[in-house]
């Protein structure tokens, strides 16, 4: 039966996450001036409060499902501006779980594994990857050389899963390699100076003659591996939902002080311009919300749905831009002040239409699928 209502357990878990997001809001600006600072695993305010993800794990059968709830937990957390408890969600771990052998999984399961895909030449086209993995038959080792940029968890990760082009007498094409911290020739750059999401650990990686045994070669089906992105895309849209919800709530509160309240019954000739624009944003927010639920529901029931995921991501990216821009315009000059959070949300939210595949890349993925065109035919 089609249903959009939460279970009692859903509500309990999400309410707790929302309460914790409120507690985290006081730390929202901690990284604004000091991007080299690392996010703590947990802030003291979390002391004595249950971890919402542990609640989810313990009672998953009483919820709407782990995938849906996990995405909604991110939505709640992003209302706060920084997470009260760090929840590392790294695609490197997802890829290991999909493509690693049982031995490889046992070895790196509990590590934080950054995914290293994007290169200075670009991130949207993996086929253009220049980083190489050269097979050295004399030592039976792979030698990794290349540079990766914009890598999340670059500094705090235990290892990086690197996409590289194989140079091997019998193998060719792209594959992934586990390069652990401390490997000779693996260096991490300094934290990037970014417009927003300054609490996220982002830096470049350089691999210069890193030698790896075959046991570090995560040799799964690459196509399948890259499809794991389908899982994380709706999660980014959930980030966008959280940030934009906080900005819209802030804007509505200021508008209420000016006597403007949401009127869902009024026709277009009976709304102020501000209320009309805000209601358009509310509609876009709800539209994005249902596509995120849809993508995660499909994933829960049928495995990651490539198209549903890209629909949600494209919606989330566009929502983040439109909501923050419109709300800042409605709030006027006061909204620019660092005394309040909307200006931070404006800077943070801009990344959501870029990372994990830009809005344009999502559209390419969808367009190729609905039109039945290959990447060669539509690019």
């Amino acid at each position: 039966m089609i249903d959009f209502a939460f279970t009692e357990r859903d509500k309990e878990i999400l309410d707790e996450a929302r309460a914790q997001a409120r507690l985290a809001a006081r730390y929202a600006r901690d990284f604004e001036r000091d991007e080299d600072r690392m996010l703590p695993h947990v802030y003291p305010e979390a002391e004595g409060r249950p971890d919402p993800r542990a609640m989810l794990r313990a009672h998953v059968e009483e919820t709407s499902g782990a995938k849906i709830l996990n995405a909604l937990l991110y939505l709640e957390e992003w209302r706060g501006g920084v997470p009260l408890r760090e929840c590392r969600y790294s695609l490197g771990n997802t890829v290991l779980a999909i493509a690693g052998t049982p031995e490889q999984q046992a070895r790196w399961n509990d590590k934080t594994i950054a995914i290293a895909l994007t290169e200075p030449i670009g991130g949207s086209d993996p086929a253009a990857t220049r980083t190489t993995a050269t097979w050295d038959p004399s030592t039976q080792e792979w030698v990794i050389d290349g540079e990766k940029i914009f890598i999340t968890y670059a500094q705090s990760c235990d290892a990086a899963l690197v996409l590289a082009r194989m140079i091997h007498p019998e193998r060719r094409g792209l594959s992934t390699f586990m390069v652990e911290k401390g490997t000779l020739g693996f260096t991490v750059g300094r934290q990037y100076r970014k417009m927003g999401i300054r609490f996220e650990d982002t830096a470049g990686l350089v691999f210069s003659g890193c030698r790896l045994s075959e046991s570090h070669h995560i040799d799964g089906d690459l196509k399948k591996t890259l499809q794991s992105f389908s899982e994380s895309r709706p999660v980014v849209a959930a980030y966008a939902l959280g940030v934009t919800r906080a900005v819209m709530d802030f804007a509505w509160a200021r508008l209420a002080e000016a006597g403007v309240t949401p009127d869902y019954d009024a026709g277009p000739t009976h709304l102020t311009a501000a209320a009309d624009r805000m209601l358009t944003l509310e509609a876009e927010w709800e539209a994005t919300y249902v596509t995120v639920l849809r993508a995660k529901w499909v994933e829960q029931n049928e495995g990651p749905g490539k198209i549903d995921s890209s629909v949600a991501k494209a919606m989330g990216g566009a929502l983040a831009r439109k909501v923050t821009q419109t709300c800042l315009e409605i709030l006027g000059a006061a909204g620019l002040s660092e005394a309040h959070l909307p200006e931070k949300a404006f800077r943070d939210a801009r990344i959501f239409d870029i990372y994990e595949g830009t809005g344009e890349i999502q559209r390419l993925i969808i367009a190729r699928d609905i039109l039945g065109l290959s990447p060669k035919e539509l690019n």
Binding site: F4, Y264, E286, A287
Partner: protein
């Protein structure tokens, strides 16, 4: 518990509606538009889907609004005008069945439980240009009853309606009044023709000092009627948008410009992508609002936002679909200009339909 799974009954109803849309509604749509009338057989076929009769029987299926919205959407995929012709009496019957007193249900529902199509409509849209008062049709107390004055616009199939559910402002807010078409002082104007949904023969209903007894005022306020109307508009636009998208997509693969299929150009492919995204989001929003209606909670926010999104993106989808055909889209030999007119019309008909 969040779920997008339709029940077996919902799937069966959806398939029946899809079959009607493909075999009968779509092929007849252009002729109905040109004649400003449906062939009787087509109305009978739509009626045979059973939505109105079921609503009138008092034996509500599980999630009636969801079921009705799914069927209306599917018929609208074939022809939004035909779907609207079904959603208009459905709105009336659902309002009486859900909000009416036992006496009102006994008196007004029986006629709709049979196999022959019967007509009635909610008359909500105000006649005339935008005005500072949302609701100019007024009901004032007169003895033990009410007297109504005002004018309603764009009432679907008004000339064939036996009864109207007229919304009017009272001193205690908007209420809905059940008024027979034959009531003294009620006049159905000649249809003037309209931009779209032409076969609905929409006409003004003018009320001059119409007397209504207390027994004919619907208990409670009109909120639920309006919310149901918003879901209906969302369903109509959702079906229409999906129809335009499905029609335009294959064309862009066949049409060669500058030596290459239109579909292989990003500017075109991305338009189709945005149409796909919008039709998905419209559909889920519409179903969410329908779910909330069925759950009995206030659905005003979700229904109003679903309608707002559907109006903007449904129209844009019809608009961009037409654009993809260039000059052919403008020609009446193709359905795109009709769909475009229908989409624009649906955007302004709040409260005329229901699920």
């Amino acid at each position: 518990m969040i779920s997008f799974a339709l029940t077996e009954d919902q799937t069966i109803a959806q398939h029946a509606a899809a079959a009607l849309a493909q075999a009968h509604a779509r092929p007849a749509a252009r002729a109905a538009d040109e004649a400003s009338a449906f062939p009787a057989s087509l109305i009978e076929r739509a009626w045979a889907l059973g939505l109105v009769q079921t609503a009138a029987s008092g034996d509500a299926p599980e999630q009636p609004s969801v079921l009705n919205a799914i069927v209306i959407e599917e018929v609208a995929y074939g022809d939004a005008t035909l779907a609207a012709a079904l959603a208009a009496p459905l709105g009336f019957v659902r309002a009486i069945a859900e909000s009416g007193s036992p006496a009102q249900r006994r008196r007004h529902l029986h006629a709709f439980a049979g196999d022959a199509p019967r007509f009635a409509a909610i008359a909500h849209v105000e006649s005339g240009w935008p005005h500072k008062n949302n609701q100019r049709t007024r009901a004032r107390r007169a003895g033990s009853g009410w007297r109504l004055d005002g004018a309603k616009a764009s009432v679907p199939l008004a000339a064939r309606c036996e009864t109207f559910l007229v919304t009017a402002e009272t001193d205690a807010g908007a209420r809905a009044f059940i008024i027979p078409a034959a009531a003294r002082g009620l006049a159905v104007a000649q249809p003037r023709g309209s931009l779209g949904l032409r076969a609905l023969q929409m006409a003004d209903v003018v009320l001059e000092d119409v007397s209504v007894s207390d027994e004919d005022i619907l208990p409670g306020n009109v909120r639920r009627i309006l919310d149901s109307g918003r879901v209906a508009i969302s369903a109509l636009l959702s079906g229409l948008a999906r129809c335009v998208y499905d029609y335009a997509l294959p064309y862009t693969k066949q049409r060669v410009v500058h030596g290459e299929a239109l579909a292989r150009k990003q500017a075109v492919a991305f338009k189709l992508t945005d149409m796909h995204i919008a039709t998905q989001a419209m559909r889920w929003m519409m179903l969410r609002a329908a779910c909330e209606l069925d759950a009995g909670a206030s659905a005003t926010r979700s229904a109003s936002l679903a309608r707002r999104y559907a109006a903007e993106h449904g129209l844009r989808t019809a608009d961009e679909g037409l654009q993809l055909f260039g000059g052919h889209g403008f020609m009446c030999v193709m359905p795109l200009e009709m769909w475009y007119r229908n989409a624009q019309s649906l955007c302004v008909l709040d409260g005329s339909f229901g699920v």
